[in-house]
């Protein structure tokens, strides 16, 4: 591991813009990012009720292209990217031979022989290296355009209303987990109907030199719809309510996809070898050793990452994420627990400082938008 102080912090093209908007900036995944512009709870509610604008320039964009790009990704990842039709996207993971998760990803099929793999900021370099290695022997090349690509997201029930007048992409025809090349405010880019908030919304990939112009075009439209810029603080509470995992909290090298409740992502029926297959087949056969569950805290206190979970005198697991849910008004959490304690309505106890606070296992997501 390199010492954090040796690693330069990347600025997004918008770092100064965020500062001028009053944002509090923090280091996240090697990038200087806005955590909040004002109140996190207000930003959260704005996305649930109207629309928000996010700078996600920290995410990693890895392009894999060539006649064997599909088979190469099928061998490198747990999902089956060749099965995606052109213009569609799929949630995926890259695992180690042990089945441990290196990162969770979204794979977009841009063309017959062209894919975009989007990795988390903090893992982008590791995923880039691992993919480069795993492409060896395939007629496919990796082009890491993380630093050359800007990414903004428009998320919330009014996202279509905000974006439609600004783009030549037919948003009505763009399904969830689909993407199309087009223009937004005259700027060429890739418009994807993906997100990390539990709301309808879009992610727009552009050349990094255009990020500022795109932001300046989108922000007035977002504001006119009663929206505002949204920081990583609300992004975290939004994804938590939506039951979506965060790498470093729910997912890591010691966790396999089945434990995280994401076994459906692992395509064991696909042809050929892929990294992690043997280990993951075993987990699929034997069942995971622990399971990710949703918890609603029923006593007083907020469960946080790392807090132990108990059932009587048995320590059964640990909290991975927790917060006060702005939408539900109660403390919510995710935790890994023993499979026997993972059924909905099981009552467990969370150790919060010196106290044991009761919590109930619930099915996730905590929040599901009305469709």
């Amino acid at each position: 591991m390199t010492d954090a102080t040796d690693t330069p912090i990347h600025l997004t093209p918008l770092s100064e813009t965020h500062r001028e908007l009053g944002a509090r900036l923090i280091e996240f995944g090697g990038w200087l990012m806005p955590v909040q512009y004002g109140s996190i709870i207000e930003e959260h509610r704005t996305v649930r009720e109207r629309v928000g604008l996010f700078d996600l320039s920290h995410m990693g964009e890895l392009y894999v292209e060539g006649p064997e790009a599909g088979p190469a990704l099928a061998a490198a990842l747990v999902s089956d990217p060749p099965r995606l039709t052109v213009g569609r996207a799929g949630y995926s993971m890259i695992c180690m031979p042990s089945g441990g998760i290196i990162d969770d990803l979204i794979v977009y099929r841009l063309g017959e022989t062209s894919f975009l793999v989007v990795a988390n900021a903090g893992n982008a370099a590791i995923v880039s290296d691992a993919l480069a290695e795993r492409l060896t022997g395939f007629k496919a090349v990796l082009d890491d355009r993380s630093l050359a690509t800007g990414l903004l997201a428009v998320q919330g029930p009014l996202a279509v209303e905000v974006l439609a007048p600004l783009t030549d992409v037919d948003l009505a025809a763009l399904r969830y987990y689909a993407a199309a090349e087009g223009h937004v405010a005259g700027i060429p880019g890739l418009v994807a109907r993906t997100g990390y908030t539990g709301e309808d919304g879009f992610e727009i990939f552009v050349d990094t030199a255009q990020t500022e112009a795109l932001w300046q075009a989108l922000l007035p439209a977002v504001r006119a719809a009663g929206g505002q810029p949204i920081g990583l603080g609300a992004r975290d509470t939004l994804r938590l309510e939506a039951g979506m995992p965060l790498y470093g909290n729910e997912l890591d090298l010691d966790t396999n996809p089945f434990e995280a409740g994401l076994g459906r992502v692992v395509k064991l029926d696909k042809p050929g070898e892929f990294v992690g297959r043997a280990a993951l087949e075993k987990v699929a056969r034997d069942g995971p050793a622990r399971r990710l569950v949703g918890l609603i805290v029923e006593g007083r206190g907020i469960a946080r990452h790392g807090y132990p979970v108990w059932s009587g005198e048995r320590r059964i697991g640990v909290v991975t994420s927790g917060t006060q849910s702005p939408t539900l008004g109660v403390p919510i959490a995710m935790a890994y627990v023993a499979p026997a304690d993972a059924e909905p309505d099981t009552v467990v106890e969370i150790e919060i400082r010196e106290a044991r606070v009761p919590a109930r296992v619930v099915a996730m997501p905590f929040y599901r938008r009305e469709t």
Binding site: V35, T323, P326
Partner: protein, 126 residues
Amino acid sequence: MVPTDLRYTKDHEWVRVDGESATIGITAYAADQLGDIVFVELPEAGRTLEQFATFGVVESVKAVSDLFTPVSGEVTEANPDLAASPELVNSDPYKGGWMIRVRLADPTQVDDLLDAAAYDALVVAG
């Protein structure tokens, strides 16, 4: 400028002295730094606190922080409104967002705390 009738700690708590009674809370600067406060855990009446000891915790959306008492004394009351309305700490930190009252064990401790001008200087210096 922060209220001039209060004394302050470097940890951003304030204390208002009224005879033998001291009311304690956190400053507007502290509340703003924490962000939206969603939970406050306070001691029950009767507990004895030593100066600068932890008396509770305040939780924002993002993080949990300890609370330190500026003075020694016995807790006589904890703000009952904060259980249902922890956001009072953000919106009204010096009045409605007060946290505990203590019976002062040693009134001279107050003299060693920061006055408003000194606390302001501390915040400006970051």
